[in-house]
Amino acid sequence: MAGPINWFSQIASITKFGLMSVPQRRGAVAATVVGIAGVVAVLAGVLSIAAGFRQAMTVSGAPDGAIVLRSGADSEMVSGFGHDETRIIADAPGIARSADGPLASSELYVIIDLPKRSTGTDANVPLRGVEPAALQVRDNLKVVQGRMFEWGKDEVIVGRGAAQEFAGLDVGSTIQVGRYQWPVVGMFSANGGVAESEIWTDAKVLQAAYNRGDSFQSVSVRLNSPETFQTFKDWLTSNPQLNVQAIRQSDYYAQQSQTLTLLITTLGYLIASLMAIGAVFGALNTMYSAVAARTREIATLRALGFGGGAVIVSLVLESLLLALAGGVIGGALAYVAFNNIHTSTINFQSFSQVTFAFKVTPRLLIQGIIWALLIGLIGGLFPAWRAARLPIAAALREL
């Protein structure tokens, strides 16, 4: 019993000793801690872009929601079918029904060029024409300012995200659509989902404005339950009058976010990895100089009987503690600087803007701390090994 306890107390004293000497080495220590904090901050910051974007997309997909597109179309923008087809789709089995009929909304999805607030240049803002069932087909939609538009009238409501990112979308202003001025009568929220990037109006009104005749681009439905999706899909694909594909809403949004998420994540990890390698060199530098400065002291400790293993563990522990400090500082910095920063970017797949907020999630912070600890581990291991293997007599003689 005495052995392990003795060992732990050895480690404790050497580590304490090491930490007490930090003020003497503050330059090098600061360099390491800041270096690691920088790595963690950049990692968490860049990846929070992807995390926030993905969150906006996943919140948007209800488990019992489905979307029907023309077969072969990879997004709503390029899909298209006529009025008759949408009526057939709305009669499919599996769709939930309310007193007013099936919960199916035939929709038109186009873009309108509006200037981005941050740059003043035009951006592809999504403009969606919906039917009355749309509010029940989608979860969490609430008008938070103003009122809902009146069906049949040239009025629009805007998503909270869109109003924040694009100019001229405040409640009470008007947007120019061709030769017409459409008033913005309300603002809606959708729990941070993709719908908040959009401007909504009556599908019939939009068809007229964009010369779409009586065609639609998608049908969004609410199913009786997530399980009825298969029946719904089979009925549609085997129907000879239709040439469509049915996708679960959650799958659709996941698909639509693939490319952008991949791009941001790849670049984010690439940058952070390089920074981490740089930080490892910085940490090695600090620990080697720490060991070099304390060569005589460590040799003295070993001469007194402290075990070589205890020395190594203490030095690694010291490095880990510094790295942890750096990781925590970096994570806190990232959280303060990046969390909930609202932004918008173009989703190449849907060819329209998506508004979202950066999200520094707990998972990212933990990831950052793990990276910091790894850097600390590598940075401390080699110097510690060297310190423990120096011949004691020679080390005692060193200046």
């Binding site: 360099a31 901050a41 950049v42 990879d74 060029d113 940058i271 530098n285």
Partner: protein, 390 residues
């Protein structure tokens, strides 16, 4: 220059420390190179935009089509040399991940308005003679191993053929190269007449006689804004109003849709350089502290204060420059590898030469900034105090 050996051996004094610091600098400049490539990929097109070209699109929305009949009207506007159009085809080759642009164009006018695409004369003739012919950029041709004579099937997500199928087949009759390094050689261009006749006139009546956007060449680049206004006035109050702007502005607006990339890149680089500044500065400070005695000796034998300062600065600059050049060189070496991985997402990924020069300048600046404080400390050492600390 005669003190180079002195500076060099000072660096080699604590080999481990110097190499670790050097490696940190190398990594920082690798990152600099990588970020410069990312920035170039996202916003670099602006610099290569034709000063004598305007882009005309539908005013309300870029996805709305314009009548093909506008072309003749545009060419009658004073200041316009000629106009030609392109349309978004939205095709997929085998897998959505293999994305590249395919547009139907008017062959002769297209090549005339885009002199940056270099196509051999015989290939141009073949294109004009083959209705289903297409020319493809060198980059895409190499990516998929296409040769002249290959038949390439592309599935359009928007346009169907008369028989209702979405898969169009084109004959590769030419491979074009770009004049500059940054010219995009990923697209494929095929003939508008084939497109117009073949696209299913039945179910896609909304597309009949319509095109995506126009490119206008103007006679005098300084008149760009004026001519743009005239074009928009010509089509004002019609069913398809236009928005005309110089090509550079169009590309800039497009790049801005992604976000303020330049700002993000600058912020990351700022964080990175601040960190290595600390690391390198700390190393230099330690180096000077350790050599106080020796610096005292140098002063005692007659080195002037200015010379001492120069020696320390030379040391930090040498470290920074070696690290910088190595880092930039490595960045240059790995960008083609990264470009391969990102081929579908960022078609043009390379390190612009301009960035190399900026990087070199930054490394010199880094050397100066990290060396200045230790150099001043060394300069101000009093000989007697310094010798006492030996």
């Amino acid at each position: 220059m005669k003190f180079f050996y002195l500076v060099w051996s000072n660096l080699r004094r604590k080999k481990l420390r110097t190499s670790l610091t050097l490696l940190s600098v190398v990594v920082a400049f690798m990152l600099f190179g990588l970020l410069a490539a990312i920035q170039e990929a996202l916003v670099g097109g602006v610099a290569l935009a034709g000063a004598d070209r305007l882009i005309v699109r539908e005013k309300v929305s870029i996805i709305n089509l314009l009548p093909a009949s506008y072309e003749a009207r545009m060419e009658r506007i004073p200041g316009v040399d000629f106009a030609t159009h392109q349309t978004w085809f939205g095709g997929i080759y085998q897998d959505p991940k293999n994305f590249f642009m395919q547009n139907p164009v008017e062959p002769e006018k297209f090549l005339k308005i885009h002199p940056e695409f270099i196509l051999p004369a015989d290939e141009e003739k073949a294109w004009l003679a083959t209705r289903t012919g297409a020319i493809v950029g060198r980059r895409t041709a190499e990516r998929f191993g296409w040769k002249i004579g290959d038949k390439v099937p592309i599935r359009s997500t928007i346009w169907t053929l008369p028989d209702g199928s979405y898969t169009w087949t084109f004959d590769i009759v030419g491979i074009f190269d770009g004049k500059d390094k940054g010219t995009d050689t990923t697209p494929l261009f095929f003939r508008y007449d084939y497109f117009d006749e073949a696209r299913d006139q039945g179910s896609q009546s909304w597309g009949r006689g319509k095109v995506g956007w126009y490119t206008i060449r103007i006679k005098d680049p300084s008149q760009a804004a004026e001519v743009a206004r005239r074009v928009d006035d010509e089509f004002a109050n019609s069913s398809a109003e236009t928005k005309t702007e110089p090509e550079g502005a169009f590309i800039q607006a497009w790049a801005s849709q992604i976000g303020n990339i330049v700002l993000i890149v600058a912020a990351i680089l700022g964080a990175v350089f601040f960190t290595i500044l600390l690391v390198t500065g700390n190393t230099m400070a330690q180096a000077v502290r350790e050599r106080t005695g020796e610096l005292g000796v140098l002063k005692a034998i007659g080195f002037t204060n200015a010379r001492i300062m120069a020696l320390v600065l030379a040391e930090s600059c040498l470290l920074a420059i070696i690290g910088g050049i190595t880092g930039l060189g490595l960045a240059r070496a790995i960008t083609p590898v990264v470009a391969q991985k990102l081929a579908g997402l960022l078609p043009l990924f390379f390190l612009p030469t301009r960035a190399l020069f900026i990087g070199l300048g930054l490394s010199i600046a880094l050397g100066l900034v990290t060396g200045i404080v230790p150099a001043l400390v060394a300069m101000r050492l009093r000989v007697a105090d310094a010798l006492r600390r030996m």
